[in-house]
Amino acid sequence: MKTKEAVVFKIAWNACIKCGACVAVCPQEAGFTSEFDTIAEHAACDIACMFCETVCPVSAITHKMLAAEVE
């Protein structure tokens, strides 16, 4: 799914196998990462290409629209 609005990702830690594929495919600047080799949960993503969600072998990544988070 492609969206133009900024999103915030959430990792299902129970499913994540800490493989780093999401980081490898992420077009963000350096540092858009978590402590556990995944893309960041703490910051909003304004590119919202969703490559990380798509590449994840176990579909551990979901997102919410930033606007919805802020409300």
Partner: protein, 398 residues
């Protein structure tokens, strides 16, 4: 009064290598062995873990990098390949039969390759680097760097959560497929979604193997990739696959489940029990066009040194680590500054030794995966894989 204590005590090295996988540990070993002062850092507490690799590597690759095939890290010996098309027809390339005087279990013959335990293998390579004179810090993440006026740089590390800054002339980004070091230097390291295979694998009990790496091609089982069954030693096997997500609608986990339950191997896999779950991303991409910047070089997965036909990256990581380590030690000892212009020599050496061939493989891969007709694409992949592993393959060196 300015606080000068930190500058006085700041540790200084010629080289800081970020990441102690096969690429980083090998770079550190060859640089240290050739006289450079080397610091090797890795953010992990246990190298190689969690495993993101199947561990297949040729005897030749280890030998070229001066790595003795030790039982410390070998799960199983490999003597050849079985390549399958999507229907289950196969081509067996067993070097025990094709070259019985060279490969086998008899006295005077050797295995063609091995399946290694990446936890033990990466630890072994780090030990080798340490014995060659490199210093190693685990639980140490590199977080950034600054170039200083004198041409060297300061590198920020987080060691057991304590910020530490060190000085180094060159930074080696050996930080794997998720490399951030390249991004620090403004290098174009981003991998396209269409060029990162999404992989999942299970180490299982209850599946027999016969000293062969089994590779299953075919869009039905693994679009834009392949499935595999590897021997893992002690009666275990590994079943895995990688898919290109722009060529399919489901994730790797669903494809793996289908491969186990519905493929021509379903009877063979009927009683398999899953003992470990691993995965990762394999760049089936071209090597980076530029793998160096002022004070920085990239090696291994960080520079996309991956064979884009097989997805193998251990051999290329070891080889490029050797090239980088030798080159950098020489540059440093010559007293020349680590400018972009001077570091280009590393990439030139790498292109000559293996890079040009890796580019060639990438073009072959592109031609296959760009074929729109699925039947033709499947035929091409099956033929290319069979040819790649044959005795007269032109790519034996990578």
């Amino acid at each position: 009064m300015p606080d000068s204590s930190s500058t006085i005590t700041m540790p200084e090295y010629d080289l800081v290598v970020i990441g102690s996988g096969p690429a980083g540990a090998t770079t550190a070993r060859f640089a240290a062995a050739n006289g450079a002062r080397v610091l090797l850092v890795d953010k992990k507490q246990e190298l190689g873990a969690p495993i993101q690799c199947s561990g297949a590597v040729s005897h030749n690759a280890l030998e070229q990098a001066g790595v003795y095939p030790s039982p410390e890290f070998i799960h199983d010996a490999i003597y050849g390949f079985a390549i399958y098309n999507g229907k289950g027809e196969k081509k067996i390339i067993d070097y025990r039969k094709l070259k019985p005087d060279e490969y086998g279990t008899k006295e005077g013959t050797i295995p063609l390759g091995y399946v290694v335990d990446r936890r033990r293998f990466d630890r072994y390579l780090a030990t080798q680097a340490e014995r060659a004179g490199a210093e190693i810090w685990l639980k140490t993440a590199a977080t950034g760097f600054r170039v200083m006026e004198n041409g060297s740089c300061e590198v920020d590390l987080l060691k057991f959560n304590e910020p530490v800054t060190i000085r180094a002339k060159v930074i080696v980004g050996a930080d794997g497929v998720q490399s951030q070091v390249g991004k620090w230097a403004g290098l174009k390291t981003h991998i396209k979604l269409s060029e990162l295979a999404s992989c999942l694998q299970f180490v299982v009990d209850g599946v027999e193997t016969a000293g062969l790496l089994e590779i299953v091609t075919g869009n039905e089982w693994a679009p834009g990739g392949y499935a595999w069954v590897f021997p893992k030693g002690h009666g275990y096997a590994e079943i895995g696959l990688g898919v290109t997500r722009t060529m399919c609608t489901e994730n790797a986990q669903e494809y793996l489940d289908r491969f186990i339950k519905q493929s021509f191997f379903k009877e063979r896999f009927k009683n398999c029990r899953i003992l470990e779950i691993q995965g990762g991303g394999v760049p089936l991409a071209a090597p980076l066009k530029i793998q160096y910047a002022d004070n920085i070089v990239l090696v291994g997965d960080a520079a996309r040194h991956v064979n884009s036909i097989t997805g193998g990256g251990i051999h290329t990581a070891l080889s490029s680590g050797k090239i980088a380590g030798e080159f950098l030690a020489q540059l440093i000892l010559s007293g020349k500054p680590a400018t972009k212009t001077n570091l280009k020599g590393y990439q030139d050496n790498w292109l000559k030794a293996m890079g040009n061939n890796m580019w060639k493989l990438y073009r072959v891969k592109r031609a296959i995966f760009d074929t729109v007709d699925v039947v033709k694409r499947d035929e091409q992949l099956y033929a290319t894989m069979s040819g790649y592993f044959s005795t007269d393959s032109e790519y034996k060196k990578i």
